[in-house]
Symmetry: C2
Subunit: 321 residues, 2 copies
């Protein structure tokens, strides 16, 4: 049960228990993407389920946004592997009386998300379910997929984009309010970092993953998979501008709020020591996305966070916690 | 909207509406499997969602059987394409308080189903949902996938195995009774016809599909996809022995009962005229599965059924009907 490279948490205990039950019937569980055996055209696959009332509410998003978001969440796992997008399948469960135009709008959003990164809708399945369920399986290609297990002591840690926007929107809705437009956009319309990830893979990324459970939890998985200790400098975190007001209203430190937020679908990446500010600037020029150094990789285990040199704590999101 | 090769029904109208909304964002919808573009190692994928209360009830099956059945339903689509099995991903939604051993038992069943046909569990996703949702995406390989669109006038129609057993179990449960052991086994433990399908593909099958919505509905899809008319001789249908008592108790003709039952996951196949009883016997020797001639392919459109020469009607299953 200990060979599944994941950090702490009830959800990950479940994955460990499944891997133990499956034994040799499973291969490579606990990664963003599954890699097919040799001879399959470098194909990688990954799957992601979005459930109404758990991952989204109809009152918050249009059907098109629900489709976009579900597809992008799954596509983000292809990004984490540095993969090129081939396409996706969509299994959709809907209440029996769901109007067909809600379904077609949702699928329009799915189609927009996958074509935006060069893929297509390859197939799907329709079912009846008590609430809307959108399960997306993405198919990509990566000659040398980047995983989570090759971060090395001496690497530096970076994140793409800015963090916390999606969580700011979520907190606003959950408090009965209306999110700021920028935060809402981050939640409703996340952009999988496919091009960014391929750039980073081509420039020597040792390990990469998408931050879908919050930086705190996801950094723990990367540390566990690579057998290293990650040191995060929270004061360096790139924070989405709409976080500030929401975090202050809740009395949470701004960076801690951003680090706790998943679902921005930005990337956490370990790059070799030789990767410097000049290269980071070139990344930004090539992709239009900011890349920020937020810490380093050391020998050891686990994740340590500090704020301007003072130790700080972090937490991730756990469905079953 | 007319280029999606499916027969009549509300569920298929939904698929047609989705294809219209997606336009060029989609490719190849309406088939059992999606075929990746050239260069991807002949990879085919397909997805299938099973929902508690819709596709199964916990009172009917063990968790292990629920997992086996969900995986086999999806694997059956690989069989329909004549594909070899690589593996599958499993997205599982569970109530928040679901015991972890229910989940591991379910996944044990998934693992048993996929290893029984030579594949492995490649990855998955866990989520919270109001009821159990098991979405399985299967990955296979087929150098020349068999589709639904190449049946030709003059072909003969055959089915593998015996039909109606799964429906007999379902009817018994729905009437508050206990199914006969053989019928229960057909529902709880369907066997995807992977080896049978590869045999048929290698022996010249023109078109093939799995009978998951009942012979009536599925024959309509094959006819629509191939632009032909199928003539079914219901008196020739191979009927599962446990159908007889259940059909008689309901006052349904035995063969009509069997033809209406989906979820036996047997195959409907169009074979060239040259395929004869000698070859059918060789199939049975090689695979251990019966193959029965049940009709023929003509010029025209739609499906016509007869019983000992007298016209008869057929119906399929439609989630949204």
């Amino acid at each position: 049960m200990t060979d599944i490279p994941l950090g702490a948490g009830a959800e990950f205990d479940r994955i460990r228990a499944i891997a133990a039950a499956l034994g040799p019937a499973a291969s490579g569980l606990g990664n963003d993407c599954a890699v097919l055996p040799p001879g399959f055209g470098d194909v990688v696959v990954s799957t992601d389920m979005s459930v109404e009332g758990v991952h989204f509410r109809r009152e918050w998003l249009t059907w098109r946004e629900i489709g976009w978001r579900a597809a992008s969440a799954a596509l983000s796992d292809l990004a984490a592997a540095g993969a090129e997008v081939v396409g996706l399948t969509a299994s959709i469960g809907t209440p029996r009386d769901a109007p067909v135009d809600e379904l077609t709008e949702l699928m329009r959003g799915v189609g927009e998300a996958v074509t935006a990164v060069g893929g297509r809708v390859l197939g799907g399945d329709l079912s009846v379910a008590p609430v809307w369920v959108v399960d997306i399986t993405v198919v990509g290609r990566a000659a040398r997929p980047v995983g989570r297990s090759e971060a090395r002591a001496g690497d530096t840690l970076w994140v793409t984009g800015a963090l916390g926007g999606a969580r700011a929107a979520l907190m606003a809705w959950q408090a009965g309010g209306t999110p700021a437009a920028g935060a809402r956009e981050r939640f409703a319309h996340p952009v999988p970092r496919i091009a960014e990830a391929r750039w980073l893979a081509a420039h020597g990324a040792h390990a990469m993953m998408d931050i879908s459970d919050g930086l705190g939890g996801d950094a723990g998985h990367l540390a566990a998979a690579s057998g290293v200790r990650l040191e995060l400098e929270l004061d360096q975190l790139p924070v989405h501008p709409d976080v500030v007001a929401v975090a202050l209203a809740r009395g949470e430190p701004i960076q801690a709020f951003a680090a706790r937020g998943g679902e921005d679908y930005e990337l956490l990446v370990a790059l070799p020591k030789s990767f410097d500010a000049v290269e980071a600037r070139r990344f930004q020029q090539d992709t239009g996305t900011v890349l920020t150094r937020i810490g380093k990789v050391r020998r050891g285990a686990g994740v340590a966070a500090s704020f301007a040199g003072v130790p700080a704590t972090l937490a991730g999101y756990d469905h079953f916690g």
